[in-house]
């Protein structure tokens, strides 16, 4: 038996340590240990609930926008406050543009380097790569001159000896199996993706007034005054500028990203056999289409044992099925609960640190272990895509079918929907969701334009806080899955505030019943060819798009921790 410790996992946000036991070339046990921002309630206690979002968007440097939006939703929920349609549409556009940005960054900048060998791309035939690209789609930037130019650029870059962004790749690893031409086509799109993620970010910046920290939110709506004629507000001119950006994004997502993911998935079809892990899935509906949050563009809900027939939808911002199902366990996390150690509902949540050494059978992580009706669930784009398919959401079914068709054609064999319960399936589902979000962004843009044309310019309803205690929760289907904020408000001041974040659901340690979390369960039976270079472990962990709140941004000139992979048997 060999034990592998990877600390930290690279190409993720935040700090994550993974331990695995490997027997006969396969993972037989796993532990996920992370740092997670836990302390927002300490910051927010006693504050005005209208200001909470300004602080919550500082929890994480990647997820600023999502923590801001879900915070105002939680407070609005506590107040039963309706949100004007224009405000819903503007928020929905910010959410979708942010999600597209995040999904593009994940596939190309974070995950692709586990599957695509950049060094191999240097020796590829540009003609072959261009021909391959033309066979996958009519994307206009698959032309030979651009591919050749990018290959030359990469050669020059690698030739300097400073690998920079490519430094943490496992080049030449035996598990890297793509032909050089596929590697070159993917590398070409890697560089183009850097342009397109910036376009998505510009949309967020126009609507949110600024990035990385949007400025336009308010409990009760948004602070974007709408006046079709005034230069200082959200004008038709700005809205049409956004439309042009959306169209550019659409070309890349539909013609480059979807075919890339499908083709890479097909060429690594063996990875549809690994990484399923926890197949109870949870997602929430998003993009509200009314002022109360009872109708949504994108469905969400619970699926048991990977069986779409068991789908139980979550239907409104008042949904009791969601509200009553969430708890967090600290049996294996470095916290203690006062007054009973069992898992707690977030309204009764506590954060009292109790650090120990790393104990395989005891406490070993700063991440709590959330449960849904006392069971572990997997969250993220895969959970969301499966729920949307189960709910009969037409755009999701269409984009998923396209991915499966391309993948089946490349693989030369029919790839079924069940292949999604896997490492490669999580990556494919994220691309499907990206294409769905793009359509939603177009829809929400049209809804906003149409609503303004009707003469509705309202963007804000003023919140009024009652005497006494009120409670509320807000949820959001964020790029990494279900995000929820929970708040108890007493006489207009925050009494308790808990954030249950997507990576907590997936990266959490064992729970009260010692059941493995989704990262841990997904690693079981993963192949590991060389414990010193555990690329396969990274593939499965990266497929979740880990984001363990980046609390700190300190420059340290004295200490430079590098990635440590320890294997001892």
């Amino acid at each position: 038996m060999t034990r592998i410790t990877i600390d930290p996992i690279t190409r993720i946000e935040g700090h994550l340590r993974i331990d695995c036991e490997v027997n006969d070339g396969k993972v037989s046990n796993a532990w996920s240990s992370g740092q997670m921002w836990r302390g927002i309630e300490v910051i927010l206690q006693g504050r005005d609930p209208r200001d909470a979002w300004i602080f919550t968007q500082r929890i994480c440097g990647v997820c600023t926008t999502v923590h801001a939006i879900v915070s105002v939703r939680a407070v609005e929920n506590a107040l039963n406050l309706e949100v004007p349609l224009n405000a819903q549409y503007i928020r929905n556009m910010i959410i979708t543009a942010h999600g597209i940005h995040d999904h593009i960054v994940h596939f190309y900048q974070l995950a692709a380097l586990d599957w695509v060998d950049i060094v191999s791309a240097l020796s590829a035939s540009p003609e072959g790569a261009a021909k391959l690209g033309a066979s996958l789609s009519d994307y206009r930037r698959n032309g030979l001159p651009e591919i050749r130019q990018i290959q030359e650029k990469l050669k020059a870059f690698v030739g300097t000896g400073q690998l920079g962004v490519f430094a943490s790749g496992y080049w030449g690893h035996p598990a890297m199996k793509l032909p050089p031409e596929v590697n070159l086509l993917a590398a070409t799109h890697y560089l183009q993706a850097l342009e397109y993620q910036r376009i998505a970010n510009r949309i967020v910046a126009i609507l949110g007034s600024k990035t990385p920290h949007i400025q336009n939110l308010a409990v009760g709506g948004v602070a974007n005054p709408i006046n079709p004629d005034s230069q200082s507000t959200l004008t038709l001119e700005r809205l049409f500028a956004i439309k042009a950006e959306i169209d550019k994004l659409g070309e890349f997502v539909n013609k480059a990203m979807i075919p890339d993911v499908a083709a890479v998935g097909a060429l690594y079809a063996d990875w549809t056999q690994y990484g399923a892990g926890v197949t109870d899935y949870l997602s929430v509906p998003d993009l509200p289409l009314d002022t109360k949050g009872t109708r949504f563009e994108l469905p969400g809900g619970y699926i048991a044992k990977g069986d779409l027939a068991t789908f139980k939808p979550i239907t409104s911002y008042q949904d009791g099925f969601f509200r009553d199902g969430v708890k967090e366990s600290v049996k294996h996390a470095w916290y203690r609960y006062k007054g009973g150690s069992e898992a707690r509902h977030p309204y009764e949540g506590q954060t009292h640190p109790q650090h120990t050494t790393f104990q395989d059978d005891g406490k070993y992580s700063w991440v709590k272990a959330p449960t849904f009706y006392d069971k572990r669930v997997q969250v993220g784009p895969l959970a969301n895509v499966l729920a949307m398919v189960a709910a009969g959401h037409e755009p999701t079914k269409r984009h998923l079918n396209r991915v499966l068709e391309i993948a089946s054609a490349v693989a030369g064999t029919q790839i079924p929907v069940e292949a999604l319960h896997s490492t490669i399936g999580r990556i494919a589902a994220r691309a499907v969701r990206c294409a769905v979000l793009l359509e939603s962004l177009q829809n929400q843009w049209q809804l906003l334009i149409d609503n303004i044309a009707k003469g509705d310019l309202a963007t804000f309803n003023r919140p009024v806080f009652p005497k006494g205690e009120i409670r509320g929760f807000g949820y959001h289907e964020a790029p990494r899955g279900v995000l929820s904020h929970w708040t108890v408000i007493e006489n207009g001041k925050i009494e308790n505030y808990q954030a249950v974040v997507p990576s907590t659901w997936n990266a959490g340690p064992r729970d009260d019943a010692d059941a493995l979390g989704p990262y841990e369960a997904s690693l079981l039976d993963n192949p590991v060819a060389n414990p010193e270079l555990p690329l396969e472990v990274l593939r499965t962990v990266h497929s979740f798009d880990p984001c363990l709140a980046c609390a700190i941004h300190l420059v340290d000139t004295e200490r430079r921790p590098i990635v440590q992979v320890k294997a001892f048997g």
Binding site: E13, F55, G61, Q162, V165, C550, V555, D556
Partner: protein, 166 residues
């Protein structure tokens, strides 16, 4: 010419957020010329690509642990910066190091990078700076102002009337 003054750090962890507080104070004290963009970068990573791409000079203010005593204000010469940011210096893999490395790849790296660091004392939960670090905020602001003047921007203090309006 385009200059970006970037404040970094997490304002929920007291002195960790000093870089953000310094650039806020800079923008409050001086009239910032149109070519200079003051950005509160928080703990962001790839979101900063648009902001940093192709700028001629990048001035960063961040909490920095250099071995100097807490509440020291340090300026790191350009030659030292690559070692700080272009290698992977921390678990925050998607931080500024990756943004700068990406800009090298796209050929849009800043023409020069200067870092003004403030050595933190207290990194516990909280939104107030420690009194020691708070006391050197002005010194860090002046350090950035001196850099900007060196780049040819004669910074003028905001007039009291303008401050009152804000």
């Amino acid at each position: 010419m385009r200059v970006v003054v970037l404040g970094l750090g997490n304002i929920l962890l007291r002195d960790e957020g000093v870089g953000v507080r310094v650039v806020e104070a800079l923008a409050a004290r001086y009239a910032i010329p149109a070519e200079v963009e003051v950005v509160d970068g928080g703990t962001s990573g790839m979101d900063l690509l648009n902001t940093l791409a192709g700028c001629d000079h990048l001035l960063i203010c961040d909490a920095a642990r250099t071995g100097a005593p807490p509440a020291s204000v340090v300026k790191l010469a350009a030659a030292e910066i690559p070692a700080l940011f272009l290698t992977r210096f921390s678990p925050h893999q998607l931080g500024l190091a990756d943004v700068l490395a990406t800009l090298v790849l796209t050929g849009e790296a800043p023409g020069s990078i200067t870092l003004v660091g403030v050595v933190p004392l207290d990194l516990e939960l909280g939104i107030e700076l420690s009194s020691e670090v708070s006391a050197v905020l002005g010194q860090a602001v002046e350090c950035l102002a001196t850099e900007l003047r060196g780049l040819g921007y004669p910074l003028a203090p905001k007039r009291p009337a303008a401050i009152a309006v804000i």
